[in-house]
């Protein structure tokens, strides 16, 4: 009876667990990399991207998907702000256009043509509520053929 009720109220099924475990185990089998190497890769990836935008480190997902018998890496890296606040604590407070201008200018200086225009575009981003925008960074490349 308890089993029935559990099922009725939608406990997650063990076949779903099996599917997920299988996905993960085959991912590491195919890429022939130890899980800690994948973790390191994820860390480095976040490191590089964080030089340009602020990302939500807790929510970064790096997955490997199969297409037929080749493998693709998919990274989902939520961007919380286009510019980094000091200290990088991950709290993108609403900033004044002036702040944005100076910091964004420092971060992406080579591309700045007109400081005025730059400030305006960034102000839009910064004055919006700190909603998390998920952007799919779709780095598709075959990594390893099995066997």
């Amino acid at each position: 009876m308890i089993d029935f009720l559990k099922r009725f109220f939608g406990q997650s099924s063990s076949s779903a667990t099996a599917k997920e475990r299988l996905r993960l185990v085959l991912m590491t089998d195919h890429i022939a990399l130890a899980p800690e190497i994948i973790d390191n890769m994820k860390r480095d990836l976040v490191e590089v991207i964080s030089r340009y935008v602020e990302v939500d480190r807790e929510k970064v997902e790096v997955n490997f998907e199969r297409e037929d018998r080749s493998l693709a890496m998919l990274a989902n890296i939520p961007i919380v702000a286009v510019n980094r606040p000091n200290g990088g604590s991950g709290q993108p407070a609403v900033q004044t256009p002036a702040d944005v201008s100076s910091r964004a200018g420092a971060a992406v200086a080579p591309n700045v043509v007109s400081p005025g225009a730059h400030a305006a575009t960034n102000a839009q981003v910064a004055s919006a509520p700190p909603r998390r925008r998920r952007r799919k960074k779709n780095a598709t490349r075959p990594v390893a053929a099995p066997g």
Binding site: R7, F8, G10, S13, S14, S15, A16, A18, K19, R21, L22, R23, V25, L26, D29, R66, D68, R69, P146, G147
Partner: protein, 272 residues
Amino acid sequence: MAVGASPARGRAIVVTSGKGGVGKTTTTANLGTALAARGARVALVDADVGLRNLDVVLGLESRVKHHLIDVLEERVSIDDALVASKHNETLMLLAAAQTYEKEDVDTEKMRALIESLRERFEYVLIDCPAGIETGFKNAIVGADEAIVVCTPEVSAVRDVDRVVGLLGNRFKPQLIVNRLRPLLVKKGKMLSVQDVNAILRLPLLGVIADEPEIIVTTNKGEPLALRKDGQTASAYHAMAARIAGDDVAAPTVELKETFIDKLGTLFGGRRA
């Protein structure tokens, strides 16, 4: 592919899985029985040297006098070593050696043996041992097709994935999902055929249910495929037809809904 009419070579198909205990031997015995029931000349080769079992599943253990290594080392002729089925004269077994090890098999001699069996049989089914070492290599050396047997479990799927990677494209592997329990699948407690093949992406030869009658027939040494009807026997016959090239759908396993199940559905129940 036309087989039988011409003196063309027969087909050599290895039945493999990587993982042990998923039903390779039972599958080999039943597919061989079903192919022979179609009138084809079939040789079953037990390549599991040291752990011979196909003779027992076929009920031929008391008739085996010589074995694979005897033939490979030219102590006896192939004809002397082949044992005919009790039920079908076109089905023959070449038993594995029990007192040897897998490393005792000479790979090139094994290739030559399968080749000469292909000259006299339309189908040579090779029962591969578990693992991916010497025994596996010797079992696949003479084959050019593969049937992979997988149960709906994480470990079995992983091992099949590995084996298919090792086989490469040459063997055109086809999948049998074995020991499926449709009620468990429905309840979300077992991987479905779709789940398994979303990973493996192989042509599906068919699905076999986890049925007590398979155990019973194995106990007796009489393969289930000796029967003409019944869900599981029919599934073996359908797979044999597919192997032979007939345009037959891959057998699946449907849940026989009981009254209680239907009642559950009626009350807006849980459809997993």
